[in-house]
Amino acid sequence: MTTLILGLVLGGTYALLALGLTIQYGIARIMNLAYGEITLAAAFVLVFLFQAAGISPLAAILLVGPLGYAIGWALYAVMMRPLVARSGGGSRLEVDSILATFGLLFVIQGLLLMVFGSNFTSIAYLDQGISVFGVTVALNRLLAFAVCVIAGGALTLAISRSRWGLVMRAVALTPSSAPLVGIDVNRVARQAFALGSALAAIGGTSVAMYQTFSATDGVVFTMKALVIVIMGGVGNVPGVLVAGFALGLVETFVATMIDPGLTLAATFAIFLGVLLWRPQGIFGRRA
């Protein structure tokens, strides 16, 4: 029971981190290696707002989310769009976007180091425990879990039910033929990338509440998110939720029952296994 609840809560924080990436990669077709840095930048901004301006982290989420959206929008327009145009829908975009966002990773990390220094950063907010079915869980983790479930649920609904979601799915499936039915692929991709950045930023703000971090931690977030995205199936929002929860459960299970030393190895082993046997993700459909 303890394992189950701890695993689910941990999984929720993982899934929240991965939501944005799956949208960026699945719909906008940008493999964003700087994803973790955007998350981290949001975490720093939250801490700054909290400490310097005294803005409550909960209110700050409302500020940081839209900010992430705006930055994602701008990044896409300035940096990604020319690459997309150049690739002409081919597979070159993947390599190009990996390389370009790898550069972006350095830029953001360098800026964070210059502005916030290399020190560990941490705030204490909502970290009192709360009992869930007899298991004590930190409130901020629970909050991340809730945000994840709400954001993930809303996205799932929006994508499967609304017209906007239909357009998103169309672009994700066949970006080349979407224009035939009057969809502005460029606009949709930009929206998706911006939305992904906003989710990354929200993920970052929740990270700031429960974890100590420093300016060089971004890659860790990217990797975790990537593992979950691949497991869940690229662009598949419910898949990401399930994969995140599954990963949280596995890690907690391995840590409790087998050996905490193998948690990360287990993560990567599962990840590689999924890649080998079901590269479309556990929940993806075969192409």
């Binding site: 830029v107 990797m223 593992v227 190895a265 590689l272 590269p279």
Partner: protein, 304 residues
């Protein structure tokens, strides 16, 4: 013929310079030759097939770690041999299981591989041998390392040149362009990819083994540093990964540039580096060599 003569003279000159260099310049040359080797070996497989591998450090680190484990129990040449063998076997296993993955999946898999190997070695060391962090006390001088690495670099480029003229080279190019056509032309996809991947990975493992005595102390988190993989990719792509001399043309200027930046702008260099990186992607999409060629053609032909 004159080309070969030129190459021989260059190699002889390169082999002779350590006598005239300061320790730092020699260190710089070692780093330079190491990355030329890595980038060329990487391009041997990835350049033509366009399978972007981020597993470089998985092999490089394995080589270094092998030396760290064996350096006290075996003579040095045997240690190198073992490292090569381990790289070969590892590449074989990885290759057999992964080369059917395409595109982004291969990229990500290769990245995860380095992490998995690192985690497994760590766990093994902690729980089985009970030590983490090994020492390399070998009587290999910086010059010795330089000569070995130079030899490996020459071998790598020579091998690439030979492959380029051999049917294996043509097969790799075809695979890079269109796997479907390759298969329908009679090319055995998995065998071809496996051979190239194994050759490339074994060389990379050896490079790690040769470089490791310079570090004295080896730990999984130190030797499996993903930056090595990324730098290798960037250097090869910058020069033009599908050209024989491309990786070299990318590795030399980038390596010197990194060195210069970190020396001159120790505080801001990540930002500059990142911006340049982005600039490279935008300005030289096909690599420096291709861009230079296109420029030359434009000068010569007037019209394209």
């Amino acid at each position: 013929m004159s080309r070969i003569a030129l190459a021989v003279v260059t190699v002889v000159l390169l082999a002779a310079i350590p006598g005239y260099l300061s320790d730092y310049s020699l260190g710089l040359m070692i780093g330079l030759v190491t990355y030329v080797t890595l980038a060329s070996a990487w391009a041997l497989f990835s350049g033509h097939t366009r399978y972007v591998s981020l597993a470089t450090v998985a092999f490089y680190g394995s080589g270094a770690y092998t030396v760290a484990v064996l350096n006290e129990s075996l003579p040095y040449p045997l240690v190198l041999l073992c490292a090569g063998l381990i790289g070969f076997l590892l590449a074989l296993i990885v290759g057999l299981s992964t080369l059917r993955l395409a595109g982004i999946y291969f990229v990500i898999f290769s990245f995860g591989l380095a992490e998995l190997i690192r985690q497994l070695i760590t766990w093994y060391e902690v729980n089985v041998t009970g030590t983490l962090g090994r020492y390399i006390f070998l009587d290999v001088t910086a010059r010795g390392i330089y000569w070995q690495m130079l030899a490996l670099a020459v071998f790598t480029i020579g091998l690439s040149a030979w492959i380029g003229r051999h049917r294996l080279g043509l097969a790799l190019k075809v695979i890079g362009d269109d796997e479907m056509v390759a298969a329908h032309s009679g090319i055995d996809l998995s065998r071809t990819k496996l051979i190239a991947f194994t050759l490339s990975s074994t060389i990379i493992t050896l490079a790690g083994a040769i470089a490791s005595p310079r570090w004295t102390y080896v730990e999984p988190s130190l030797v499996f540093n993903p930056t090595v993989s990324f730098l290798t990719v960037i250097m090869a792509l910058l020069g033009g990964a599908n050209r024989l001399w491309g990786p070299l043309m990318g590795a030399v200027p980038l390596f010197l540039l990194f060195e210069w930046l970190s020396v001159s702008f120790p505080d801001t260099y990540p930002v500059i580096l990142g911006l340049m990186f982005i600039a490279v992607v935008f300005l030289f999409p096909q690599g420096l060599l291709s861009s230079a060629e296109a420029f030359r053609n434009r000068l010569k032909g007037g019209t394209a």
